[in-house]
Symmetry: C2
Subunit: 329 residues, 2 copies
Amino acid sequence: MPETPSPTLESILSRIRPELARVDRWLDRQFEPDHPALAPLLAHAARFRGKRIRAAQVLLVGSACGGLTEAHIAVAGIIEMIHAATLVHDDLLDEAEQRRGLACVHLEWGSHTAVLLGDWIYARAFQRSTELDDPTCSRVLARATGRVCRGEIHQNLTRGDFELTEEDYLAQIDGKTAALYQAGGFLAAHYAGAGGDLAAAAGRHGLLAGRAFQIIDDVLDLEGDEERTGKSLGTDWARGKMTLPLIRLRDRLTGPERRRLGQAFGSGADRSVLFRGEFADPLREEIEATKSEAMRLLDEAAGALAPLPAHPAREALLELTRFLGTRRR
Amino acid sequence: MPETPSPTLESILSRIRPELARVDRWLDRQFEPDHPALAPLLAHAARFRGKRIRAAQVLLVGSACGGLTEAHIAVAGIIEMIHAATLVHDDLLDEAEQRRGLACVHLEWGSHTAVLLGDWIYARAFQRSTELDDPTCSRVLARATGRVCRGEIHQNLTRGDFELTEEDYLAQIDGKTAALYQAGGFLAAHYAGAGGDLAAAAGRHGLLAGRAFQIIDDVLDLEGDEERTGKSLGTDWARGKMTLPLIRLRDRLTGPERRRLGQAFGSGADRSVLFRGEFADPLREEIEATKSEAMRLLDEAAGALAPLPAHPAREALLELTRFLGTRRR
């Protein structure tokens, strides 16, 4: 990827501002209550909207591959809803307190309602997908959602497993994160009338970019600065989740050193122990190597866009891909 | 409904034994793990199978309305999966310990995995529904699942509300229980090639039978015998859920009596207080009146089957409807 100054997410999204606003209005309609008792909960859930990188991906791929249709607004909205449902459940399970400056659903309405709200958002998203004339959206997203859940279950069942393989780690992040980006790229090209090859290319871009996104997220959780990122870090280490730099550090250690790392991993100690003493230097090396690998994945993701027609939206998509490598939160 | 001796569930299901066995094999395939780490969890979830009244409904309606197809096996399996997903989440939220003699998922693998397993079962069920050529199944079931979740959320948000109206109670049970029976009846007729009128009649049968089923379930929870039913009872009262006999008891009380019932409701006292002292007689009257009303609903449900062709499967469906009124657990 060329070494140009990174555009901000704001500037990338500014090119699709009207279309993103349509997705927002579409999302607003999904959260309209049909009973007054549900109104405060749904109003809260509707305000719970993120950076909408997934919606932006759908809108940019669709624009580049033949132009946006009504279906793109729905596909972008449906993917954001599936993502929102996973966040409601994740926050509950991680006992998070705040998301985007709002109290998490489970703190405000209890864990019952948080589980059920997540379920309802999934169901409503599927319902909308089945209303499109072309069933590709519902087929692809039901499969992708199954992969997301399976990836998360797999990660949960291997918590505390110091021997987690790199292969298993990659399978987990492909499920929990990359599958939805892959589906988004594929569907955006498909609903723009692109042929199978182009849709596969856009899907491959999503898969690789999503994989890099999660690897970087996990590196930030390991070494990031809480003040700078504005969120709690060190949670993977604290909860017994091995991530890429640690897996590689473990694999280069033998004998007593390896044993000591395993003991620290199972001890509940703060992640700062890793950055003091014997593990500090090799871990920093593995962190740098992991970051370089994530950048190579993003290069590969950008390369996967080569078959797409030259179009300002394709350029914006390349910038969005680059942005994923520079983000610090 | 004629006063004939009630057939057992066993004898009703014996007529569709081979078809139910096909649904079981279909369900077994859905729970095959694609990674060894998932094997024990999915094997556990696969054993977690109930009375399959919902599958029986689909098979009987389909047989009566024109004959079973491959799609019926899938529709029956998908509905059982959606029901299973709600049970995994319900058990977690109700802090249940056992279901059908097996430890609940959250006790064996933790609440993270229980939430995610429920999500995965939903997603897998939707995926299978999108694979049918005719999108009616995925459309109808996505909408019904949304109603199930909304009904449950509504019930949760009104917990502890002594003033819950009868109208709200009925809307909640129609969502959380009757909607899925309605969808099952409608889809079974539709996939047997029945016209819209017949499918609507089968759906109406499901709606009314499902409503009666839940009213009876709630009455059993209020007055049932734990030893006889083999499950914990009194949970609605303990968790602040007003159910039909209580709503009606409240509505016939005024002044200090009504206030005392409200105080007992909010006190966390055991349900046995209701059956001693001033509330005992009027409550018993309301329980009997509620049971009679449930029987009338089942009569109405049976009547809704009148447009279906005369067929042994329709007779079995009438017996299944009658069975719902006689069950004690």
